[in-house]
């Protein structure tokens, strides 16, 4: 599925443009409120979340929810990070996500190259085989994997997460990388061989730098999928010390006796602002990548 880039917006003659000026002004009148409402709907929940994360518990319970914090309790963040174990959960998430991501990108790029550039019998069948993995719900693989991990003795480590993320991230990555390699002519690699480079060497030194951008895009997409995953993490982290950020956040109020609202909101904020920061810098790539990977449900 290739989707046009969001950037190629062209200036367009509007059907309404030639209408009398009054009509035009009227149109401007209803567009602005719509955009304003849209902005409030998108931004207010985040603003509210952030403000509430700075309230003390008494403040939260006794004052209207939309009021500003009476005192600014930055300590909620330390509370969430240490007592609430969010620090540990973030560390677990990183330990599971980064190796999976590296493996997915390395194997996916190589497989995409083999499927699109190399010439061999059965490559379209192999591509279809990978595609099947995009459609099938993860529920189909959880139980056998759980049994195997348990019998092999991997339960109680982060390996089940790394392995499962790698396996389930591959189909979409292979598919997207194969699509990107379509834009590079085979002759490029034939020429490289004439110059004496082996095909593995041309893959690594010529093709990889050429698809560097695509690798970054696919990497971002996979990062968000894995970082935000709940189902797989919930299945394989039966040990409290192994919880990823999502599983930890879900069970967050359990860390304290009664729910501490300030630290709870601080924990939600930590989780949200991490991904938001990446989006702030790379939003065009993220949008393009996720739209291109839309085949995954």
């Amino acid at each position: 599925m290739s989707v046009g880039t969001p950037e190629k917006l062209s200036p367009r003659a509007l059907p309404l443009r030639t209408k009398p000026p009054t009509r035009r002004r009227l149109r401007g009148l209803w567009i602005k409120p719509i955009v304003a409402v849209l902005l409030v709907v998108e931004l207010y929940p985040l603003l509210w979340m952030f403000l509430t994360s700075l309230k003390s518990n008494d403040d939260y319970l006794n004052n209207p929810s939309w009021s500003l914090p009476t005192t600014w309790e930055w300590g909620n963040y330390t509370e969430a990070w240490t007592t609430g174990n969010i620090g540990l959960y973030v560390q677990n998430s990183l330990l599971a996500v980064l190796p999976s991501l590296a493996l997915i990108l390395l194997m996916g790029t190589a497989a995409g190259f083999a499927l699109q550039i190399m010439v061999w019998k059965g490559r379209s069948v192999t591509l279809l085989l990978f595609l099947a993995g995009i459609m099938v719900p993860a529920q189909m693989i959880l139980l056998p994997l759980f049994t195997v991990y348990f019998q092999v003795g991997l339960s109680g480590t982060l390996w089940p997460l790394i392995l499962t993320y790698t396996g389930s991230g591959l189909p979409l990555t292979v598919f997207m990388m194969a699509t990107y390699y379509k834009t590079i002519p085979r002759e490029m690699f034939e020429a490289a061989t004439l110059d004496g480079a082996g095909i593995l060497r041309s893959f690594w030194s010529i093709s990889v730098p050429m698809v560097r951008n695509a690798v970054l895009t696919v990497g971002l997409v996979q990062f968000f999928f894995i970082w935000n995953d709940l189902l797989i993490a919930l299945t394989f982290t039966n040990n409290q010390d192994l919880r990823t950020i999502q599983v930890g956040l879900l069970n967050f109020s359990g860390e304290f006796g009664a729910t501490q609202y300030g630290p709870l909101f601080a924990a939600i904020c930590i989780n949200v602002f991490g991904t938001l920061l990446i989006y702030l810098f790379l939003n065009q790539k993220v949008m393009k990548g996720l739209a291109g990977g839309a085949v995954k449900g």
Binding site: T52, S65, T193
Partner: protein
């Protein structure tokens, strides 16, 4: 020259690892899960054959019927919501905001990348009635409607869930559909304008038919994703009140891990898989037929 690009050893080195890992983690377990559906047991106690009993149970289990009904209801409502909202946003971007739309597009897209668990917990607090009215109930009281206990009633909880998931994903569908709308040639719109069509007429008779293909693919993506809903439900309602908001995915999870019945869990997973394949196929066939007609 093709000899180089057909180097078997190189092909094996390049695709071998991916194929091996993919087969071991995805393909083999899929087939294996089929086998589990005919057994009873779990990872700790082992498995015993159970014939087709799990499938008979699927047919008579009230909880499965309710979960199936909820899944379909949810999928239809969210798909309609996110595709319609996305389409309206895309129209807004292309025809009204034009060049100024980049910032709004980026902004409306951002909930897509937020962790669903975080969004679920946030919405739970926003619609909270106790111990403190969340902003939504505070607003309702301010306009004199009175606060609502959203999560004590299955129907209300359902709508909060729909609202949350449309909020999360409309920006995504807006960008997807935007790409389709931008591809409509200017000349077509120009000639409609010269023929005296109003803005609404142009959208109804020109823009809508021309963006039908991308609308249809959005529909397929959306249905496929929403049938597998799990995170949002777990974070927002955890299936409650009772099991009023329990989709098949969550029921499968509870059956397998709370009640340690892997056999029946696999049967439910199979039902889910068949469901998503059948629904995608139906939507795909419908879209093909419509296209040849249009």
């Amino acid at each position: 020259m093709h000899r180089v690009l057909g180097d078997r050893r190189a092909i094996l080195i390049l695709i071998g690892p991916a194929l091996l890992v993919y087969s071991l983690i995805m393909l083999v377990p899929m087939v294996w899960s089929l086998g589990y559906a005919f057994t009873k047991g779990n990872a700790i106690n082992g498995f015993t054959g159970n014939g087709v009993a799990n499938f008979e149970r699927l047919l008579t289990d009230e909880a499965v019927h309710e979960a199936l009904w909820f899944t379909l209801k949810y999928a239809v409502a969210v798909t309609a919501g996110q595709v319609v909202a996305g389409y309206l946003l895309a129209l807004l971007y292309v025809f009204f905001l034009k060049k100024a739309s980049a910032l709004i597009r980026t902004l409306v897209f951002f909930p897509v990348i937020l962790p669903t668990v975080a969004v679920g917990l946030l919405f739970k607090q926003m619609f909270q009635v106790a111990p403190q009215n969340g902003p939504v109930n505070a607003l309702l009281e301010a306009v004199g409607l009175g606060s609502v206990d959203w999560f004590s009633d299955g129907g209300n909880a359902f709508w909060v869930l729909i609202l949350m998931d449309v909020w999360r994903s409309m920006g995504f569908y807006a960008v997807l559909l935007f790409a389709g709308l931008v591809d409509i040639p200017d000349e077509v719109l120009e000639s409609a304008r010269l023929d005296g069509a109003s803005g609404l007429q142009t959208i109804r008779h020109i823009v809508l038919p021309l963006s039908l293909p991308v609308l249809m693919s959005s529909l397929i993506f959306s249905i496929n994703g929403t049938l597998k809903v799990f995170d949002s439900v777990v974070a927002l309602t955890n299936g409650g009140p009772g099991n009023d908001t329990t989709p098949l995915t969550l029921y499968m999870f509870q059956t397998s891990f709370t009640y340690s019945d892997y056999g029946y869990g696999s049967a439910i997973a199979l039902l889910l898989t068949v469901l998503s394949l059948v629904v995608s196929l139906v939507v795909f066939r419908l879209s093909r037929r419509d296209l040849t007609k249009g």
